[in-house]
């Protein structure tokens, strides 16, 4: 292919899925001239799998992206068809918001935002090669022969990299949803020495909603109380007419059909070589692994307002189409369902993520970043969370500034990236709340309090929004201070109230702050019982209630965090030569050399490294310090 010299950019982002969109928007908002390349313009921010955003941990990530100035939260708030708060019966640390998206509107809205963003060019092309000179990436070449120069490049290839779709005996080279796969780029990455591996994921069949008998299923409606992902969304805009989801189950007959056709299942016939995720197994995998379960729950999720396509959630399969039809028709409500798209499995290339720094820049090639599924994750939110970090760092790198990273105690995004670069992953990585050590600190309700300051510093949060945020922060402090001054007296009304919520009576008056620590007591109750005017925004009251009620536990986690910080502060010199350290166990030496941890705290999180190795490493680093002092 004859190439031609095209325009120069500061940042080029390859791939316009959930990671690529956030990366490009962040870089452009930070003032960098940015090019966003996509294989298909009609696939910008598309959801090739489930039509939903959020859920435990993931929903918190969306709020974190929003606090950093990203688009995902605003985008789903503008295009949802149903909103639900999950885990409301549990504590505040694990409450989670989830939205059903209109996936076409979601795509259109994101594309519109990108098209209207200054400094940002959106173009359809397949990136075939990265340009590297002296270990620095300086641009890309596309299939159309365009040669683009850039200061940094972000790769967000999703499942397109040497993608291969499998449906029963049928397999073909393809990106998600029958798009063009990216073949040359992964080959080029291998030439540059990157270690790649194959992962597998899958998606369930879609059926025509007109042919579903919903009377045989259970309705799952949305919430009446408004909740949003973005700090900027307003309660009065909350959607009143939401579209429900529906729940049904597989049965013994379904399982029998699957068992009879296991020899045709690519998962078991050996056709699929990639490693699939444990948490999102195909239905055939579930039947085999959990043979004693007589039914599995399924969710019927509408894919949008103006389509009849319905996503059969939890029914991911790569069985032949013929078998898929039989399986579907065995399920209550789907007896006469018309199949619109068959489910399929897709295999794709990922870059083993231990080859990355916490900034998502590759260790071997400066100026080259990767984000999203290419790093071995799964899920739109995980992709977008990495996307914004990669975009920020690509911009900072182009500006010659130091990188931006988030710690494990600051954000789920921090947990996600640290897990990836420290431990690597042996399956598509999904974020779970149980992966976070400091879950109580990483709540969805305080994502703005944790991260807005960074978004503002980076220039991604406007001054206007920042002022609103500071006002909220101030109101929280003010309410906390007021609760210290108000006294709740043991009046008959108060005693009656306590009795009503199943609490012991009071013997003497207490400060409202102490009174609030009792379970089920709210700020509004205190206002009512004391006649004080505590007229604050509901998010302010919620924040004060949570931090007051769980102060003891929050403190416990903060003590652990303080220790972590002291350990994170012990940096390992980038040029350390592990072969020069006597006494390291071979396994530890190899892992240190491969992962190249940035701090002692990170070294400690590497699996298979024992305390003696850490002691030796720590001693060796201190020695270096000592040497410098001597000079």
């Amino acid at each position: 292919m004859k190439t031609y010299q095209s325009s120069d950019y500061d940042v080029i982002v390859v791939g316009a899925g959930h990671a690529g969109c956030e990366a490009a928007l962040a870089a452009a908002h930070m003032g960098e001239k940015t090019l966003l390349l996509t294989i298909g313009l009609d696939m910008v921010a598309f959801m090739p799998c489930n039509p939903s955003v959020g859920g435990p941990a993931k929903g918190t990530v969306v709020r974190e992206i929003d606090a950093l100035g990203g688009q995902m939260g605003k985008n789903i708030d503008a295009t949802y068809i149903q909103m639900r708060m999950l885990n409301t019966g549990k504590g505040p640390a694990v409450r989670a918001l989830r939205a059903q998206a209109d996936k076409w509107q979601y795509h259109e809205h994101m594309k519109d935002v990108i098209e209207n963003t200054p400094n940002l060019t959106l173009r359809q092309a397949v990136a075939d090669k990265i340009l590297v000179k002296d270990g620095v990436c300086h641009g890309v070449i596309t299939d159309t022969g365009a040669h683009y120069e850039a200061k940094s490049v972000v790769l967000c290839t999703g499942t397109s990299a040497r993608g291969r779709i499998i449906i029963g005996e049928l397999t073909y080279s393809s990106g998600p949803d029958n798009t063009i796969p990216s073949i040359k780029l992964p080959e080029d990455l291998e030439k540059h020495g990157f270690k790649l591996r194959r992962f597998k994921t899958g998606t369930p069949p879609r059926v025509n909603g007109n042919t579903v008998d919903y009377s045989k299923t259970e309705e799952e409606p949305g919430d009446k109380t408004p909740n949003f992902f973005s700090f900027t969304s307003k309660d009065q805009d909350y959607l009143q007419e939401q579209i429900p989801c529906w729940m049904t189950y597989t049965n013994e007959h379904t399982h029998e059909i699957i068992r009879q056709n296991l020899d045709r299942a690519p998962m078991f016939s050996g056709l699929i070589k990639g490693v699939g995720p444990r948490y999102c197994p195909s239905i055939e995998d579930k039947i085999v692994r959990f043979a004693d379960k007589d039914k599995h729950q399924l969710f019927l999720e509408p894919e949008g307002r103006h389509t009849k396509e319905v996503y059969v959630g939890d029914f991911s399969t790569s069985m032949p189409e013929e078998v898929q039809l039989k399986m579907l028709h065995s399920i209550a409500g789907l007896e006469k369902a018309e199949l619109m798209r068959p489910g399929y499995a897709i295999e794709y290339d990922v870059v083993e993520p231990w080859q990355l720094k916490h900034t998502l820049e590759t260790k071997n090639i400066a100026g080259l970043f990767t984000a999203g599924q290419i790093n071995g994750t799964s899920g739109y939110e995980e992709a977008a969370g990495q996307g914004i970090i990669a975009g920020i760092n690509a911009a900072l790198s182009a500006q010659g500034k130091p990188g931006f990273t988030l710690q494990r105690d600051e954000a789920y995004i921090g947990v996600l990236i640290d897990d990836l670069v420290t431990k690597g992953t042996n399956e598509p990585y999904r974020l779970l709340t149980s992966r976070a050590e400091y879950r109580l600190l990483l709540r969805h309700d305080n994502a703005d309090l944790r991260l807005t300051k960074y978004g503002h510093q980076l220039g991604l949060i406007s001054d206007d929004r920042y002022q609103k945020f500071l006002a909220k922060k101030f109101a929280i402090k003010e309410l906390q201070a007021r609760l210290q001054t108000i006294t709740v007296h043991p009046t008959p009304e108060v005693q009656e109230y306590l009795h009503g919520i199943g609490q012991d009576k009071m013997s003497a008056g207490v400060k409202a702050e102490l009174f609030l620590r009792r379970p089920r007591v709210t700020v509004d109750d205190i206002a009512r019982l004391t006649g004080e005017e505590l007229d604050y925004d509901r998010y302010v009251k919620e924040q004060v209630e949570i931090t007051t009620k769980y102060a003891g536990y929050i403190k416990k986690e903060e003590i652990q965090v303080a220790r972590l910080h002291r350990q994170e502060a012990k940096k390992i010199p980038a040029d350390i030569d592990y072969d020069q350290i006597d006494g390291l166990a071979t396994e530890a030496r190899q892992k240190f050399a491969k992962i190249r941890p940035e701090s002692l705290a990170q070294a400690e999180r590497i699996s298979g490294v024992n305390p003696a190795d850490l002691a030796i490493l720590s001693v060796y680093i201190q020695q270096g310090k000592y040497q410098r002092k001597q000079k």
């Binding site: 489930n50 435990p56 941990a57 999950l86 885990n87 549990k90 504590g91 640390a93 694990v94 989670a96 948490y279 999102c280 197994p281 239905i283 579930k286 692994r289 959990f290 379960k293 599995h296 729950q297 959630g313 991911s316 431990k423 779970l432 709340t433 149980s434 992966r435 879950r439 109580l440 379970p519 089920r520 769980y550 536990y553 416990k556 986690e557 220790r563 002291r566 350990q567 006597d582 006494g583 002692l600 705290a601 400690e604 999180r605 699996s607 024992n610 305390p611 003696a612 850490l614 002691a615 030796i616 720590s618 001693v619 201190q622 020695q623 310090k625 000592y626 040497q627 002092k629 001597q630």
Partner: protein, 461 residues
């Protein structure tokens, strides 16, 4: 995992060989060393003490007010110390029971048991030791840490280790339930109520209590090795007792009441603390109506950690001997063939082979070969443990203090549930207890929970 994270804790350990010498030193290093010492010290205010000063006073138990020992306390403040941290050394009167009691008080008041070699490691990490020493010290750090890990793990008897594993699994099962409800709120698993977490906590607490009570090593550290001297009349029991309790070996003599029936003696044999139990019968050997047969000794044998079984080397085994041999066959025991004259009917080798126990031939009256007996006692005590004094202390107390910590965390769970705290918050201490128990067995697999989650539940998006 935990080693480096806990690097900034205040650590404590007994830094003199156990039971040997007149003075023992308990040493602490870390930011809070002085404040912790001050909590258990009656005398001048240590928190106002200048660096490198010595203070006279008493160690007392702040909970009971009871005085433990008369001591000299040395205060050395950072940075001019061995570790470059605050160091406190408590010089006490020695003896395993007292020294250990002082250490326990420090642990109860905020110090953590030092890992082997940890003082040296800190000295090193804080740049106190010069560069020429570096490599050799690094070797030591490595050797000591590795060895101590092996020791800690090896020392756990198979049974204890299994039990702790089971406890962790019990917690993990409930924990996975809690987590699946959180991460997959719509998954049709049973909702784990706080009550279930409370029930699991209580069940595990009960088992920890039992472990704390029965954990052999821990008990010995606190009370000494309960030792019963048994044998038929006139075989030399009282001579042996007199030998063991003579002069310097006796630590404490507690004479309760006017009779000597409940007499218990504490002695130290080559640094091994022995609590001689139910020796009453022995002191009554002149009693015409003595019936110190198997019946009389049974109770003592049951309670004992160690049996010293005396046989007459000059005679063939009597039915009474055989009964005692049989009754003590599952116990840790030493068979002593006591010689009264030159002839010897029973041979060491024959008895050792037949009864699978260490055997020693002595003449107690002539005090011959008694040092062999002492060596055997010591060997038995340190069996399966490295023959190094401070490491034995470390690993034993490490276990019991971790068990106590896990118990506390589980008690916090129970209390939280009773106070109506949501399940995912009470779970913080629940997970904590699980991690603490993992420290005992040396297991730390960070993805253990995730793996459990996916193998126990059939999860989908």
């Amino acid at each position: 995992m935990t080693q480096v994270l806990t690097e900034f804790d205040t650590i404590a350990a007994i830094s003199t060989p156990i039971g040997e010498g007149g003075i023992s030193i308990v040493r602490m290093s870390g930011e809070d060393a002085v404040t912790i010492a001050a909590k258990v010290f009656r005398g001048p205010d240590l928190t106002k003490a200048k660096t490198h000063t010595i203070h006279y006073g008493h160690i007392f138990d702040p909970q009971t007010g009871q005085t433990i020992d008369e001591v000299m306390v040395t205060i050395m403040l950072a940075p001019k110390t061995f570790t470059r941290e605050n160091i406190v050394e408590i010089n006490c009167h020695g003896g395993i029971v007292v020294t250990n009691h002082i250490l326990q008080l420090l642990l109860a008041n905020g110090a953590r048991m030092a890992d082997p070699g940890e003082f040296t490691k800190r000295a090193f990490v804080n740049g106190r030791i010069d560069l020429t020493q570096a490599e050799s010290v690094m070797d030591i750090v490595r050797a000591k840490t590795d060895k101590s890990r092996q020791v800690a793990i090896k020392q756990l008897s198979g049974g204890l280790r299994e039990e702790i594993k089971d406890l962790r699994q019990e917690i993990l099962n409930t924990l996975a339930n809690v987590e699946v409800n959180i991460d997959y709120p719509e998954y049709d698993a049973d909702q784990v109520t706080a009550q279930q977490m409370k029930a699991t906590s209580q069940a595990v607490i009960a088992k920890i209590d039992r472990l704390l009570k029965t954990a052999q090593e821990g008990k010995i550290m606190r009370n000494g090795l309960a030792t019963a001297i048994v044998g038929r009349p006139n075989v030399g029991k009282s001579s042996l007792l007199n030998y063991l309790t003579q002069g310097e070996k006796a630590i404490v003599t507690d004479v309760a009441g006017t009779t000597r029936d409940t007499l218990e003696e504490y002695v130290s044999i080559q640094g091994v603390p022995l609590e001689l139990i139910d020796t009453a019968g022995i002191h009554h050997t002149t009693d015409k109506v003595e019936r110190i047969g198997v019946e009389r000794s049974k109770q003592a044998i049951q309670r004992a950690d160690l049996i010293l079984l005396l046989l007459d080397a000059n005679q063939t085994l009597t039915p009474e001997d055989l009964a005692l041999l049989d009754y003590t066959k599952d116990k840790k025991r030493i068979i002593i063939l006591n010689k009264n004259d030159l002839g010897q009917t029973l041979t060491t080798a024959a008895i050792a082979e037949k009864y699978h126990s260490p055997v020693v031939t002595t003449s107690i009256l002539q005090q011959k070969n008694l040092d062999e007996l002492e060596k055997l006692i010591k060997q038995l005590f340190f069996a399966g443990i490295e023959n190094s004094h401070d490491e034995v202390m470390v690993t034993n107390q490490r276990q019991s203090s971790l068990l106590a910590k896990a118990k506390q965390q589980l008690q916090d769970v129970v209390q939280a549930v009773e106070n109506g705290i949501p399940v995912d918050i009470a779970q913080i201490d629940f997970t904590g207890a699980w991690n603490t128990l993992g420290e005992i067995t040396g297991e730390s697999a960070p993805d253990e929970l995730i793996t459990q989650l996916f193998s126990q539940f059939c999860l989908g998006k």
